[in-house]
């Protein structure tokens, strides 16, 4: 049955009436920035003097030659490359343990997830003290068990590991909960069938549980890497200048400094475009890898 023309128009009118506020704000605050970020990366926009000239590839050339930017890329890869795999292994391990536990499940779930819900800046403040080389409990603990205390955030070699340790504590619970849901979705009869066939618990884990969990692992990896590339808050709070010798200066931190400390908007925009390119490239690589290794029922 076709609606009469008038009713059509009424429906169009209602739709656009409902849609326009979102549409307008979406265009101004997302679509326009999405396009202008590329354009900006070819200018030398300066919010203080108001200058804005087209400078071609100059910003990109600057980035290629800037050792600080190289450092920022390396630091980002360092953070992602260490944090994400560690997070994956530890959270999967803990999820398996919680899944096996009978008593205190709620207590364990709450304890491991609590850091996830707490405000990042406030807990980073707490960890600043835990890491304090002289007064902090971590170094006291190291001394207690007879190890050399370390400089943590004040030492170029230890600053990034310290940030990673904090980030693991902050984020583990999230992946644990995801893995727990994944583990609980595995049909019990598959595990029982494997037991009947004489598989031991290790074989069951590696041959049954792990393959069935592969979509979840893939999801956790994908999200973990993308989020690792965007890390900023804990860096900015715990190491306000990018750490000793710029040892924790990651890409978003570099962008922030260029744009809002040096007021080099064009340069920062170019760095943002590079970051975007890396995130897209990674997503594509992961898609390819995922298609090959992820078991889909």
């Amino acid at each position: 049955m076709r609606m009469p023309k008038r009713a059509h128009l009424r429906e169009y009118g209602a739709a656009y009436l409902f849609l326009w506020p979102a549409l307008l704000l979406g265009i101004i605050f997302v679509i326009v920035p999405m396009i202008s970020i590329f354009y900006l990366s070819f200018t030398n926009w300066d919010p203080i003097t108001g200058r804005k000239d087209f400078v071609g590839w100059m910003n990109y050339v600057y980035l290629i030659q800037d050792p600080k930017f190289h450092k920022a890329i390396i630091n980002t890869l360092y953070f992602a490359g260490v944090k994400v795999p560690l997070d994956l292994v530890i959270s999967l391990f803990i999820a398996v343990l919680i899944d096996k536990a009978i008593r205190g499940v709620k207590f364990f779930r709450i304890s491991f997830f609590a850091p996830v819900v707490t405000p990042m800046v406030a807990v980073a403040m707490v960890w600043l003290w835990l890491f304090d080389p002289l007064l902090g409990p971590f170094n006291q603990l190291l001394k207690l068990i007879g190890l050399e205390p370390v400089g943590w955030l004040n030492d170029p070699r230890w600053a990034m590991p310290a940030v990673i340790l904090f980030s693991l504590w902050k984020g583990l619970g999230y992946d644990i909960v995801i893995f727990l849901a994944g583990l609980q979705a595995i049909p019990q009869y598959l595990i029982e069938a494997a037991m009947v066939d004489g598989a031991n618990s290790r074989q069951i884990f590696f041959r049954v549980t792990l393959p069935l969990l592969s979509p979840v692992i893939y999801f956790v990896l994908l999200i973990g890497i993308i989020n690792a590339f965007k890390i900023f808050t804990q860096i900015s709070v715990m190491t306000p200048h990018g750490g000793p010798l710029y040892s924790t200066g990651v890409m978003v931190f570099y962008i922030y400094q260029q744009a809002f400390e040096s007021y080099k908007m064009g340069r920062a925009a170019a760095a943002a475009v590079v970051l975007f390119g890396m995130v897209i490239a990674l997503t594509m690589v992961q898609k390819k890898v995922g298609a090959k290794y992820v078991t889909v029922e």
Binding site: A22, G26, F29, V30, I110, A122, V126, N227
Partner: protein, 275 residues
């Protein structure tokens, strides 16, 4: 299930308990330190408990920084973003899910395309736009850029589509207009989804850091995370005061979380798109 012997049970609980205590330790340390005196902080060997419980630390925080102002700013900005985004997303999602109009699929694809770029990439042009509008260091500047959210629209649309068409037809016969259908048919049948996205949006913006850091430059406009960040410098390594401030920022969240654990976990994990 596999039969577990006593030894492996012991190790299971031993590992879990050690892990859980390690996760809780920073909170306990924070809480105890918030009541310590200056001397307790510098004591060697370090002491677990305060020599006397110094409640004045909390008052000192209010004296050094406008903590209440930061807190109210955060509450106001986060609530306005959540309410505004919810309203705009519900209306847009309803149009996409239930109405026919020209250019529908083009506009929808555009809305989804906005999810490709992380905010960290977009913050510079967004900053310039807000600067042009003269909104630096204002509530509008903190709120308006986040009222549109492609993900909220997409998420709600999925649920709105699932509401049976029959219910809508019945309401139409009763003389309901489009807005009436949305309010009396769609929303009552999608309450859990709306609740989830509300809590999710609130939590996301409660922890918002980089944007308020960029666009606020007076203490008047600072939100809680930014106020705390500057307190680290302004407080001058006074750990007992820093811990008192951290306590006031963390404990309310922790209490609400422990009370409404299930809802919290659901809202934060139903998607990993934003964290």
């Amino acid at each position: 299930m596999l039969q577990w012997n006593r030894a492996s049970r012991f190790w299971l609980y031993f590992l879990l308990l050690t892990g859980a205590l390690a996760m809780i330790f920073p909170f306990v340390w924070m809480f105890l330190s918030a009541f310590k005196t200056d001397a307790d902080i510098y004591a060697y060997p370090p002491r677990w408990l305060p020599s006397h419980w110094r409640v004045e630390n909390f008052i000192d925080v209010f004296r050094i920084i406008p903590f209440a102002r930061y807190y109210l700013n955060s509450v106001f900005v986060t609530s306005m973003i959540t309410l505004g985004q919810l309203l705009l997303s519900i209306l847009a999602a309803y149009s996409f899910a239930r109405l026919r109009f020209p250019l529908k699929s083009t506009i929808f694809i555009l809305a989804i395309a906005t999810l490709i770029m992380p905010f960290e990439v977009l913050m510079i042009p967004t900053f310039i736009i807000v600067h042009r509008l003269g909104w630096l260091d204002t509530y509008q500047g903190l709120i308006v850029p986040f009222l549109f959210n492609g993900f909220s629209i997409f998420f709600l649309k999925q649920f709105f589509e699932a509401v049976p068409k029959d219910l809508e037809d019945a309401a139409k016969i009763d003389g309901c207009g489009y807005l009436g259908i949305l309010i009396h048919v769609i929303l009552p049948n999608t309450k859990p989804a709306v609740g989830t996205i509300t809590l999710f949006t609130f939590l996301t913006h409660w922890r918002s850091y980089i944007w308020p850091l960029i666009i606020t430059n007076t203490t008047r406009m600072r939100t809680l995370p930014i106020g705390l960040k500057y307190f680290i410098g302004e407080g001058g390594e006074q750990y007992h005061l820093m811990m008192a401030a951290a306590c006031m920022a963390i404990l309310p969240v922790l209490v609400v979380y422990i009370v409404a654990e299930r809802q919290f976990v659901k809202s934060m994990t139903f998607t990993g798109l934003k964290r």
